[in-house]
């Protein structure tokens, strides 16, 4: 049973996170904490010359396999997309990638990175931050 919870791809992203690191002089940046588990994620974005397209993204942080793997997967998903595309990215798209059943508590872990990224873009570009992200009600998006 427990084996199904952590598919190989999750464990792989957890152990070998993509885009892991810190970016100096990022164009957009935010960090978030899931105070329930202590998951922490910081996300850094560098835009392409059009000032819209995400050219490079990095994340740092620590936390459970779900939060770190899903953020790693997110990094792969978003490069090359525009800020407004990501603002409109439904959480289901990420959850599909993650691909394991998640209880409400773990859902917050899985969506931490996406929430932080949306906040970073909202701050840098004024992209909308719909109310549903406030629904991640335990997140402190600072």
């Amino acid at each position: 049973m427990a084996e199904d919870l952590y598919r190989e791809v999750i464990l792989d992203h957890y152990k070998n996170p993509r885009g892991h690191g810190v970016m100096e002089d990022a164009d957009a940046q935010a960090e978030g904490v899931n105070p329930l588990c202590g998951d922490e994620v910081s996300i850094y974005v560098q835009f392409a010359d059009d000032g819209e397209t995400l050219e490079e993204v990095k994340f740092s942080g620590r936390g459970c396999a779900i939060s770190q793997a899903s953020t790693s997967m997110l990094m792969e998903m978003v490069v090359g997309k525009t800020a407004s595309e990501i603002a409109g990215l439904p959480k289901e798209a990420l959850l599909e990638e993650v691909g394991i059943p998640l209880t409400p508590v773990r859902l917050k872990c899985a969506l931490l990175g996406l929430g932080v990224l949306k906040v970073a873009l909202h701050r840098a570009k004024g992209t909308p931050l719909p109310d549903e992200w406030a629904g991640l009600d335990e997140l402190e998006l600072t």
């Binding site: 904490v33 329930l36 209880t103 508590v105 773990r106 406030a134 009600d137 335990e138």
Partner: protein, 414 residues
């Protein structure tokens, strides 16, 4: 033949849901006419709580394991039921408290203490229960704000013409009133009070403890900013109540109780608060009690709040008429068609405690006292009244027994 199409309920049948009626008091069947103070509980509610403890008991929100998920689902499900019951726009606006009293204190402390000051005014009504009176009186004193009371007329109804006078001496910041008075059954015009409050730039705080069990509630239609209720008066357990508050106000507010669960980050240097509703729910919540409240709401919805209200008003009308026929009985409060299922009265020359004591010996439970409304008692120039109050399980025979008991009391003291 014309049949009036109106929702109705079969109180005699509903009684079977309430185990308490299976006993006798002093050899007589229990006639419980004190539901305004606390209601009896149907099996459905007791079962829901027991089932929670036996299958799902765990702390909420924090556990990764199955029991805790189940508990969280049950608890948050109850919150949704409360939100729907009062027509809250957003479930995060519903905060679980111990009872209406604590809900009102939450507002008085977390909003009042931080927003009131000299030159400001708090306006309450003469009909208030101490729980929506004393917190405001206290906060006014603590902060240097003024404290004003809106009076009632002879019928025990608010005299709204006093509002502007109340506002004369300062900046009205809070208007606090109950929707239904527990002492007289008066139904207050909250919509008008709220409109007036907002025109003054004040918040409107509604004590719904006596309304929620008996009267359809729509916080959006009322136009209020806060609404407090108690589970134990609406077929639910003791130990839990709820506060609904307008989101913008709740978000801008300081927290009340501090501790586990209501925080985001705790550092030696400083602490940041969690999101709604958690910011206002420090410590382990009354979890099983919230589940019980949810089950009570299901029960009330099944019976139908409109049907409950109509049933009680019918009983109150009969009681008013029958008691009014007894020599020496004084009735208090508005006419039958403008009141909830509450009947307050006195018997000439006989103290309410003595009336209640004689009635108890006949198995009839009524309240005798000031009903936590001393300012209103002062206005009525009495120390106490007798009060009979009805609920969905009340039946007309209980009124017969009440009337007979009062007559008997008069004979003993005659």
């Amino acid at each position: 033949m014309v049949v009036t199409a109106r929702t109705s309920l079969d109180a005699q049948k509903l009684r079977a849901d309430f185990p308490i009626f299976e006993q006798e008091i002093h050899g007589k069947p229990l006639a419980y006419l004190d539901s305004a103070v606390t209601s009896q509980k149907p099996r459905q509610v007791l079962d829901a709580m027991r089932d929670f403890y036996e299958t799902s008991n765990a702390n909420v929100h924090r556990g990764v394991y199955t029991l805790s998920e189940r508990a969280t689902e049950a608890f948050e499900g109850a919150r949704q039921k409360v939100a729907d019951f009062v027509n809250a726009p957003d479930v995060r606006e519903v905060i679980f408290t111990r009872q209406a009293t604590e809900a009102l204190n939450l507002v008085a402390y977390a909003w009042g203490l931080n927003n009131l000051g000299p030159g400001d005014l708090v306006v309450v009504t003469e009909l208030e229960h101490h729980s929506n009176f004393v917190p405001w009186q206290y906060m006014a004193e603590k902060t240097g704000a003024g404290f004003r009371m809106l009076h009632v007329n002879e019928d025990g109804e608010l005299d709204l013409s006093g509002l502007d006078e109340a506002a004369r001496d300062g900046n009205v910041k809070v208007v606090a009133a109950n929707l239904v008075s527990n002492a007289l059954g008066t139904i207050n015009p909250i919509e008008k009070l709220a409109a007036w409050a907002h025109a003054q730039g004040a918040i409107m705080v509604v004590d719904g403890a006596q309304a929620a069990p008996h009267h359809p509630v729509d916080v959006q239609a009322l136009g209020c900013d806060f609404f407090a209720l108690s589970a134990h008066k609406m077929c639910g357990p003791t130990g839990v109540g709820a506060l609904w508050g307008r989101r913008e106000i709740l978000e801008a507010m300081e927290p009340f109780n501090l501790g586990g669960h209501m925080i985001s980050k705790v550092r030696y240097e400083s602490t940041t608060w969690g999101e709604l509703p958690h910011k206002f729910e420090a410590g382990t919540s009354p979890i099983a009690e919230a589940v019980g409240l949810g089950a009570a709401i299901d029960y009330l919805n099944e019976v139908g709040i409109e049907a409950i209200e109509a049933h009680e008003q019918e009983l109150a009308a009969v009681a008013l008429e029958r008691l009014g026929e007894i020599e020496g009985v004084t009735l208090y409060g508005p006419p039958a068609d403008r009141r909830a299922g509450i009947v307050s009265f006195n018997v000439e020359g006989i103290h309410p405690h003595d009336v209640a004591q004689v009635l108890d010996s006949e198995g009839v439970a009524i309240r005798a006292g000031h009903h936590c409304c001393q300012p209103l008692m002062t206005r009525l120039a009495v120390a106490a009244t007798n009060r009979a109050s009805f609920y969905l399980y009340s039946v007309p025979e209980e009124i017969d027994r009440l009337v007979e008991g009062v007559q008997k009391t008069r004979k003993i003291f005659g």
